[in-house]
Symmetry: C2
């Protein structure tokens, strides 16, 4: 645990089959006007919408409808939602959906009273809000992003070919989140497994950084083992409550800032994946899956050629996460075996293994690399050409 850091996470979590029952009491802490933000309407088909609306009405709330949040929420939608918050003097934004809807809710909560262009201020320039912020709460219906207990918000600007994440401070974290694993049962398989890989990527991107011994890495290993175990059950039986509930809990802790304490993190898989998303509008978790194996092999090559200490973490990943036995293997073999186990698991749960499946073509690689934000990382820092090469290997 190196460095100095602050941990503070005010989000209250209500978990379990009956967790929606807690909404009633939480609503008493907020004013009369509640904006109900949600996605394409699946919550209307599965009954969650009606349940939530009934509770809001029984508490005497005025509901401002705000449906149609897309899976990669756009800057245009954010401007529109922010205006709606301001015009209606909204007291609470209740996001019902997956990470996209919650990310969007944070975006409009910070933008409603922002006196500058919020896309430019928060996302491009990564500044903090100085204006009034509207409280956000969430009811999670799709698992993966961890947005339910952090300040993260990813917004896409198609005109600029940019998909950028902003990590807001405590003020934008959901005040409370309702986590009912049964609410995730109706998510289509493609989105479900994309979410599983998003979780794994959050765990790995924090794990594969730094060189010191750090308690958070042991926690990350535990969460990876739990995720691997439960995901293999869930893909066979999506209504296995035990598996789905463990995955839901794992997703929350994978990115609620616990695992970043004392760690730099290396978010290049997200950076490349988000660039693919900006160019293709593909499902977030699948963009990460498509580049991960090429990415980790590329990093490993760099480590092996440069004698970088990161090899220890790759070995540890193989042994502690995948139970690979060490005897008679050199460092590189052991590390590769870990990556091979990851690849095997990815195929078992059924994620996209090639960026070409998401519509990426050879002639787009330069442009996607141009949209990829790069920065120095611990194990192997990438430049533009490295990104192009990783993308090429993912075709």
């Amino acid at each position: 645990m190196l460095g100095n850091f602050k941990f503070s996470n005010p989000t209250k979590l209500y978990f379990g089959k009956d967790s929606l029952n807690f909404l009633k009491d939480e609503l008493k802490n907020y004013g009369k006007t509640v904006m109900l933000s949600y996605g394409g309407g699946s919550i209307k088909r599965n009954g969650i919408y009606d349940s939530v609306v009934n509770i809001l009405k029984s508490e005497g709330k005025t509901i401002i409808e705000d449906g149609g949040v897309m899976s990669n929420p756009t800057v245009e939608k954010m401007y529109e939602g922010a205006a709606k918050v301001r015009d209606n003097n909204v007291d609470l934004i209740l996001a019902v959906g997956g990470g996209s809807t919650i990310d969007y809710a944070k975006g409009i909560a910070a933008s409603a009273y922002c006196e500058t262009d919020p896309w430019k201020t928060y996302y491009l320039e990564q500044k903090s809000p100085v204006c009034k912020i509207v409280p956000v709460a969430s009811i999670l219906t799709m698992v993966g992003t961890g947005s339910e207990m952090n300040g993260g918000s990813v917004i896409t600007n198609h005109k600029e070919n940019l998909k950028i994440g902003k990590v807001f401070d405590d003020r934008l974290m959901p005040r409370f989140t309702i986590l009912n694993p049964e609410f995730t049962y109706t998510v289509p398989t493609y989105q479900m497994v994309a979410g599983f890989f998003d979780i794994m990527s959050h765990l790995m991107e924090q794990y594969f950084s730094n060189f010191d011994d750090n308690t958070t890495d042991y926690l990350a290993e535990g969460l990876m083992r739990s995720l691997i175990h439960s995901s293999l059950i869930a893909v066979k039986d999506p209504k296995d409550y035990e598996a789905r509930s463990n995955i839901m809990w794992t997703a929350t802790w994978a990115l609620n800032t616990m695992l970043k304490m004392g760690k730099h993190g290396d978010w290049m898989v997200h950076m490349i994946g988000q660039a693919i998303g900006a160019h293709t509008d593909a499902t977030h978790g699948m963009t990460l899956a498509a580049v991960s194996i090429p990415y980790y092999k590329y990093i490993l090559d760099g480590i092996c050629n440069n004698g970088n200490k990161g090899i220890e973490k790759f070995k540890r990943f193989a042994v502690n996460v995948w139970n690979v036995r060490e005897e008679g293997k050199d460092d590189r073999q052991l590390a590769l075996e870990g990556i091979n186990c990851l690849e095997k698991w990815m195929k078992e749960i059924g994620v996209v293994m090639k960026a070409s499946e998401l519509g990426v073509k050879e002639d787009m690689l330069e442009a996607i690399a141009d949209s990829t934000i790069t920065y120095p990382t611990d194990y192997r820092t990438l430049n533009h050409n490295d990104v192009v090469e990783i993308l090429r290997q993912s075709l």
Copy 2:
């Protein structure tokens, strides 16, 4: 993850070598009168007291001195401290010390304005406070209890031969805690390793309960592995910052309520250990260490005789925490090997292995068992005679 539960932990943590620098800003959130609660005076010898007092003075605070908190804080001291809080109209209780001091601070914070006898109301009857509560914050100087990020408070009543823990709600959790691993360097070895075992016991007592697959068990395994690794370094070199910082972080997460989500817990080692403490005033962690091996062997015997499913967790403990290989071993052998690994580690870090070393004698066993609170647990529920037998095997 079975059941419905709520997770909420408002404690802000400031971690690292420079973490005391954050005290200044936090103090601005509280009124003028700060009660400074601490133990026997070690913080005066190692300079922490002066550093804290200087910051309090520079922020214009009126300091109410409250030293002399004993390692097992007594009900008499709690009454005295509560009166001091009330008489001085204290705005913030700043506990500087280990778990005892922080436990005591919560006790007086809940007792100052309590209109009934707080020992009876909170500890004997386990009721919640209905009176005004004074905010508590902490600066940790000894690691183990986890009191720095939870609502736990253990108070001893020597007249009644009782040492009872109360878990208060969010309102009594420290508002903020400063965690500087260097502040723990001067703790004597005996107290340091007692703290290490206290952490291990918190992890095991939550782990060895329930029969379902649960993400929190994977997290507990990660924390156990980190603790085992770092404790073996720290006993050789108590000033190894990396090891001490990992242990400090592990201790906090071992008992900040994360690991109790979806778990029943089985706190019988603490119940028996606290009864020993009430009769001998021995160091808390050592009372747990003295009974743990007999306790876990006794539980395992019960499981093996009754075909209880808990055997799975004992096997898992051996394999996932201690890297025991499974081949060619039956359930009981595998489970015992895990307990033997635990015993070997305890001897390596140097904890007390016998209750007799703490002053427990054969003719005290009945009385200690009388002071032990028992309740139904998942793997093997103990009665009075079971407790006597475990105590006898610990002599």
